[in-house]
Subunit: 231 residues, 2 copies
């Protein structure tokens, strides 16, 4: 696997491709979760899988206030409030949903600029998929709603509160992950977000366990899903 | 694919195996839906898939009052009542659930006797899986609850009403299919049945569409599921 780093408008990104060059291969955009970054283990594992097993390319950038990017005073205050809520044993969902929606408003044009730049290179003229759960979905849903170049998306671990309207505008096939015992996202809110998706083909995969416990076999399933729609 | 017909206690069955003999291969029991039979197109398609792609064996029998089996006066009356309900545009779910539960009480010992007989042959000493939705789940859930030889099961298109207690006793991995716009099984009842399953590994696959519109890619998914657990 070849790993290349790039920078666009001050935002650092990573690009993973098979060692052998071939134009027109599908490209998977990887959106990381809250508190993670473009090189987080879960992002890297998926990049490796999609490149090694599917011969796809993959790309990731840091979300605003994540990875190497600066946090504003608003970020610091919001994160502290979320942590205090969790430490007190109370639901932080409403705060997380609002904070993430603010990050998404900034992130969507960043992803689109990144896609413009990559598709300017012959190498990445093929179909595009998006994978991202939790914060990766709060960014990914308005991104896919705005971006006809995204042909298929894996979302999940998020709820309807700030996302229902954008979800209704999505038309590409979606695989949606829900954790049945999610301590952050209320089950009914996750089911309602799946319900709100406008896509004719959408498939909900719900599994027992907490927010961070998506089973490994869902990586296999996402691979089959992307193969089905991007090949 | 080799197809063999057998009869046990007056009940006819079909057995599908790869042409080449090999002992110890996994065996998938195929439970058909209401109004169908052991050679229905959906059953045959799955038998072909599991035999051809996975090198598994597959077996099916007619449910009581289905296929070549006699209907009693109670069957005729129940079926007429269900049809009248549907023709009047009203929900037939309560009648269907009750009628199917009665069929299951008879079918479970039949499947167990069939399994005893097959496992008496060296050829079928391997792990056993069960696939069946709708009536196939109303029979399959009490069967899997009673039968430790079933290592993995695909269920779905059924609700909690008559099945919650048996579902709670199931421990094997389950893939559970739910049709988001099911005109027969209320969505909440299907979700509650998934919730009731006692299995530590269970995965819900929900897709848009009516009762009979489970998407084709779920056959691929069931194949991956059985490979994961029976190999």
């Amino acid at each position: 696997m070849r790993e290349r780093h790039f920078s666009l408008g001050g935002i650092d990104g990573v690009l993973w491709t098979p060692a052998a060059d071939s134009t027109g291969r599908p490209l998977i955009l990887l959106g990381h979760g809250g508190g993670q970054h473009k090189n987080a283990p879960g992002v890297l594992a998926r990049a490796r899988r999609y490149v090694a097993s599917c011969d796809f390319a993959a790309a990731a950038i840091d979300a605003p206030a994540h990875g190497d990017r600066q946090k504003t005073e608003h970020d610091e205050r919001s994160i502290a409030a979320i942590r205090a809520q969790i430490a007190a044993g109370e639901s932080a969902w409403s705060q997380v949903a609002d904070y993430n929606a603010g990050l998404a408003a900034q992130a969507v044009p960043e992803w689109r600029a990144m896609l413009d730049a990559l598709q300017g290179l012959d190498e990445f003229g093929g179909p595009v998929g998006y994978w991202g759960v939790s914060l990766g979905t709060t960014i990914g849903i308005p991104l896919a709603a705005a971006e006809p170049r995204i042909f298929a998306a894996v979302f999940g671990l998020a709820g309807e509160e700030t996302l229902a309207a954008a979800a209704a505008r999505i038309t590409c096939p979606v695989e949606f992950l829900l954790q049945w015992d999610d301590e952050l996202v209320p089950r009914a809110s996750g089911l309602a977000l799946f319900d709100a998706l406008g896509s004719r083909e959408k498939t909900l995969h719900a599994n027992p366990g907490r927010h961070g416990e998506v089973p490994r076999f869902e990586v296999d399933s996402s691979e089959a899903f992307f193969r089905r729609h991007l090949r």
